[in-house]
Symmetry: C2
Subunit: 705 residues, 2 copies
């Protein structure tokens, strides 16, 4: 897969066999062969069909192994019952990549799923890779290869589009010429039996034709691999992704569609943000950003200048900047002075520059000339309304000329109208300038370009920073975990959880499990008064609710009494619960209550959580997430994203808290759950944080395996 | 204005004079006259031009007063220098409404502003109303009146569009035929010298041609009148509004554009939400919702059914529902059973209904037939991708037929593609079904329709509920306010603020201002120990920061000492501050800290605020707003919208707080600030709330005039 040959066979195959090529128009096998021929494919084409000698002017072979040539890619469009046989034949013929168009696999139920397993196993035997099955195909515009049953060859450009929905691709290819969508590669993933988005993102990272990778996915199966790859690739080129099935309603629709396993929304959002994927909120968002990345250079400065001949739409553009946290560039005294010289007195020479409704092309020309001299004014937004004097075509031509002379400038347009601007929009499109049907959409797309620099830098920084492997006492953790396992407990007992945290170097309130009042007193005396007693039972989660907690016990008789009371309460309010004893712990001084948690996501692995603790957790529901392992700066970010940070910095005269200590605990928990995959969930609540240099302590911890 | 005659003259004039009508193509005066003639206007048309006898086949008059007929509307398109003269002539001729197209007024600076004042004053003298100046004009499609210089007559339909931007209208009219925008009226407000959005909303409320009022505004000057009108009108028909200049960046652009005064964003958002205006977030939002309201009936049930031939886009539609809090309808066992019968086994018979990529029109027909029997399944979303077997035109025709037979059903479409769906989209449009370029946009638009019912009901309920006028001691308040005014203080002293609250029946911690240690002791003894001492100075806002507060004083000597300490601190840390004395107040028992505030917005008047108090205000920054006066249920809503409600209901075992008492204080503050317009700001912080039936108390209050 990572070998050079395979990479070429996957992206730029030199020869393609079409298995199931047909003489009959309307048949998928006909459409695919015709698409490859009409697309001007520069490699060799081998139609395969035992019933024909010649199709569309090409010699036809009865089977792939009958071709006396090296075949990089075989496109399979035969009835599902024949696929396995054909695949075996491809294997014998030394084919490298299979594009399986045929449907009738996982998506149709158990029988199909079995067939898919068989398909993969045959391919594996011959070291072949599979795209699909149940997919639209593969398109590479630079070598003219349209190995798909799409109706037309989409325009050539710099967008690589990877999609789990074939129908979506059909729509986009049909719409491409209306929108400014121009593609380098189109990959229809189908059922993802073998090759998936991760493989193609890796491949496309170094593809010189591809400036942006667009992704439509319903599910990501190998989350940890995905995050690793996208962090690397996002430093090279932008990845924009739309994840469908994010809401409960949508997820239900998604799982009934392809049987994709729906991962937790929060894990996806976290993964995208943490590892540099630009998250599209909807289909328009995905296309708008993608076409901007595909056609424009990455801006060096990101200074936005809006030029408009319509006050209202200009304000809407400015509003959109405000909402997205973008600033409009200050034009500089000399530019403003020059603009005053050439614009009518009523025009606005601030940003947005309002050239007024009666502006003809010459006025635009004058403004562009002034701006062209300023290298740092590099992101131009042209908002135009077709008013009586407006010359939309001429303005479009000026912009295209301007772009040709200043290719380093980013230009986006929002020519607002119908028939009066249709031609102008074509001129823009042909000149490599995307047009948007509202000023807000133009600005939103531009914002992705401007923000990408930051993403890129940040991911590079994180790659350089790397992960510290914290020294943890692996053997002790292992033995603690296996003891619980042997006893068939999925939830660790409090002193075990405490032991595990200690083994990671995390300070936790010590804790001894007592099985009698005397043992409790003994424990209290060894720990020192005052102490807390808490029931220990795998069946009791909310200990206080059943009277299972007694605090601030100061004498041996208080401890004994508390022991009896707890047992009485539990036998009354938690009938039938298995009881391991009572945990005795010292009272620890009150600190700022925070919470650190971890839940293992089925797709993305350990998801860390941090936030304010105590009643605030439930009241605020405002916490931050990262996927483990995290770097030190990511740990700090987790804290800074929450309101806990406001308090920890020292709020309203209270002394600052020990933020470094919290970072340390986060990194240790990250190491723990990365190394011990059997740990399913961790809940440190509360973690008391003390003043700066005074550390923090896990007051209560729960760990599930 | 409210008389029937005037209403007709404004909306449905029976005769129109075009002042400045021109023989020369390209001239505005020519375009307007031609537009009126070409539009098929059914009233009488009088071109006015002293240099011509006949223009475009119509007899021409030298001036309006030379026409021997009653003239409802005069459209004025003469050079700015002649406008006032023409207006006077119109007045003499008994014209009722002026549409002033001519520019050169407020928008060009001081000279223009003076001219505008003069314009209004002449019109007023003759009881004429003015639309504009500096506007695009007025269009009424049902009487064929295009009294504007727009290039074409927009399609006739049910959207009334009121815009403060003429250029935006130009764009929309040009785009109307591409989008599904069809208008009843188009109103270009221009400078709003006289008539504004409020007047037209009032007029359009009863216009039978108008199903939805769309509004683009940059500023609303008479906020209190606006809110009054929209609450009434929103119970009759939906009002969708886009407010431009909402961000700081945008507001700056807006004020440099028309010189509109930018109101506070929060006041606008509050006004729209509170009084039933549907707030559009961007231009697409405005148009998307508007065209849906304009073409579809209001749904009775609001049950959404998505039909798709493309899995991915179907999920996106479902996701959009999830994000907007909409549920997909449960189809019911019998519908599902019937769908199973007619759809292939791999199809999804849940909602979204996936008819599969190979569905031809007959499969759609079968699904529609099943759905047509179910009255409660009333909101249909058709998502279509043009795949190999798809018949977009036929599906569009089926939908149009379906709509003709079942006009009570709401149908929206998202046919995703380019040339393959262009014709189908035209068929949909002509059949009254709006199409959206993404499934998410279709759902978003539909959500406005579904949510409107709730808006409508709620506004009706609030109208019925009305405002209680709380008994407040007006005379006492007046005298307190005038004392402060006489002494030139804008901030009231603490005991004055306390007095005012008491005069409204709000319990406040009593407070006596002492001017010597002995007076302080006397005050403490009359109030009862323990007491608090706080410095009283108009120049010291943060009293604690300068050592101006001493709490929990239990003896006369403690009070005296505290008095001296405060004075020493203040003379040291607040040099030069005017000091009125020290306020002595009893310590009140701790309650739940909340805050109630009021700030007078320049456009919308008193804006009330409620939220958690203490350190939470700053930490959470989560408060609710309403414009006063509020009803009782609005006061309750204010509380319910914040996290304070979670606490007040009784959180984690704490007893419930006295919510009724808080409602009471909100209503009293509402009455106070509604009746006393000189009060600029009120800040009750904290308001301690006690257990249910135990009331609440204003611990500290500041009032500014």
């Amino acid at each position: 897969m990572s070998s050079k040959v395979s990479q070429n066979a996957l992206l730029n195959p030199r020869s393609v066999a079409v298995v199931g090529a047909s003489r009959f128009e309307g048949k998928v096998g006909y459409v695919i062969l015709k698409n490859i021929i009409d697309g001007g494919y520069r490699g060799k084409i081998y139609p395969i069909n035992p019933q024909a000698d010649n199709i569309l002017g090409l010699k036809c072979y009865p089977k792939v192994s009958a071709v006396n040539d090296e075949i990089d890619m075989a496109v399979i469009a035969v009835p599902v019952g024949k696929v396995l046989e054909v695949v075996d034949d491809c294997g014998q013929a030394g084919v490298k990549v299979l594009v399986v168009i045929s449907a009738g696999f996982k998506e149709v139920g158990l029988e199909g799923a079995k067939r898919e397993v068989e398909l993969v196993s045959i391919a594996k035997r011959y070291k072949m890779r599979i795209l699909g099955p149940n997919c639209l195909g593969y398109i590479n515009t630079s070598i003219g290869l349209n190995a798909s049953f799409a109706a037309i060859m989409p325009p050539k450009g710099h967008i690589a589009f990877i999609s789990q929905s074939g129908a979506l691709l059909t729509s986009l290819i049909d719409r491409a010429s209306l929108e400014d969508l121009a593609f380098s590669k189109i990959v229809s993933l189908g059922n993802k039996a073998d090759l998936n988005e991760i493989d193609y993102i890796r491949l496309l990272a170094d593809d010189p034709e591809t400036k942006v990778i667009a992704l439509y996915v319903e599910g990501i199966e190998r989350g940890d691999e995905f995050t690793k790859i996208v962090r690397e690739v996002s430093t090279k080129k932008p990845i924009v992704a739309l994840k469908a099935g994010v809401t409960e309603v949508g997820a239900k629709a998604a799982s009934s569609h392809t049987g994709s396993m729906a991962g937790s929304e929060i894990a996806y959002v976290t993964a995208f943000k943490q590892f540099g994927v630009i998250k599209a909120e909807c289909l328009s968002d995905l296309l708008d950003a993608t076409k901007c990345f595909g056609s424009q250079p990455l801006p060096k400065h990101g200074n936005i200048i809006i030029i408009t001949n319509a006050g209202g739409p200009g304000i809407l553009a400015a509003d959109a900047c405000g909402k997205l946290g973008l600033k409009l560039a200050y034009l500089g005294a000399d530019v403003i002075k020059e603009l005053r010289r050439i614009l009518p007195p009523a025009a606005s020479t601030n940003n947005p520059i309002d050239v007024l409704g009666d502006a003809r092309a010459d006025r635009y020309q004058a403004v562009l000339t002034i701006l062209s001299a300023k290298e740092e004014l590099d992101c131009l937004v042209m908002v135009l309304s077709p008013q009586a004097m407006t010359e939309p075509d001429e303005v479009a031509k000026l912009l295209v000329d301007f772009k040709a002379k200043k290719p380093e400038k980013v230009i986006v347009a929002s020519f607002l109208g119908g028939s009066k601007v249709t031609n102008a929009i074509s001129i823009l499109r042909n000149g490599g300038i995307p047009n948007y049907d509202s000023p807000e959409r133009a600005i939103k797309a531009l914002s992705s370009l401007i923000n990408y620099k930051e993403i890129c830098d940040k991911q590079q920084r994180l790659l350089n920073e790397g992960h510290l492997r914290y020294p943890i006492d692996r053997d002790r953790i292992k033995s603690t975990l296996s003891r619980a396992k042997e006893e068939g407990r999925s939830m660790l007992l409090p002193h075990e959880a405490c032991e595990i945290l200690n083994s990671c170097g995390i300070r936790a309130a010590p804790c001894i499990v007592a099985r009698s009042p005397d043992e409790a007193v003994q424990a209290a005396e060894s720990l020192g008064y005052p102490v807390v007693l808490k029931i220990v039972s795998p069946h009791i989660i909310h200990k206080s609710d059943v009277g299972g907690v007694k605090i601030d016990l100061r004498t041996s008789s208080e401890v004994k009494l508390a022991y009896y009371e707890i047992m009485a309460n539990v036998s009354k309010f938690a009938v039938g619960a298995t009881v391991y004893g009572v945990a005795v712990a010292p009272m620890v001084p009150q600190g700022m209550e925070t919470i650190i948690g971890m839940r293992r996501d089925p797709q993305f692995g350990p998801l860390l959580m941090f936030g304010l603790g105590g009643i605030y957790v439930e009241l605020l529901r405002e916490v931050s997430f990262r996927l483990a392992p995290i770097t030190k700066s990511e740990a700090l970010e987790m804290i800074m994203e929450t309101k806990a940070y406001t308090l920890l910095r020292g709020f309203r005269g209270s002394p600052p808290g020990d933020i470094d200590a919290v970072v340390d605990v986060l990194l240790k928990v990250s190491t723990l759950c990365t190394e011990f995959k059997e740990i399913q969930e961790i809940d440190i609540n509360p973690l008391f944080v003390y003043e700066k240099f005074k550390g923090c302590i896990a007051v209560d911890a729960k760990i599930w395996c």
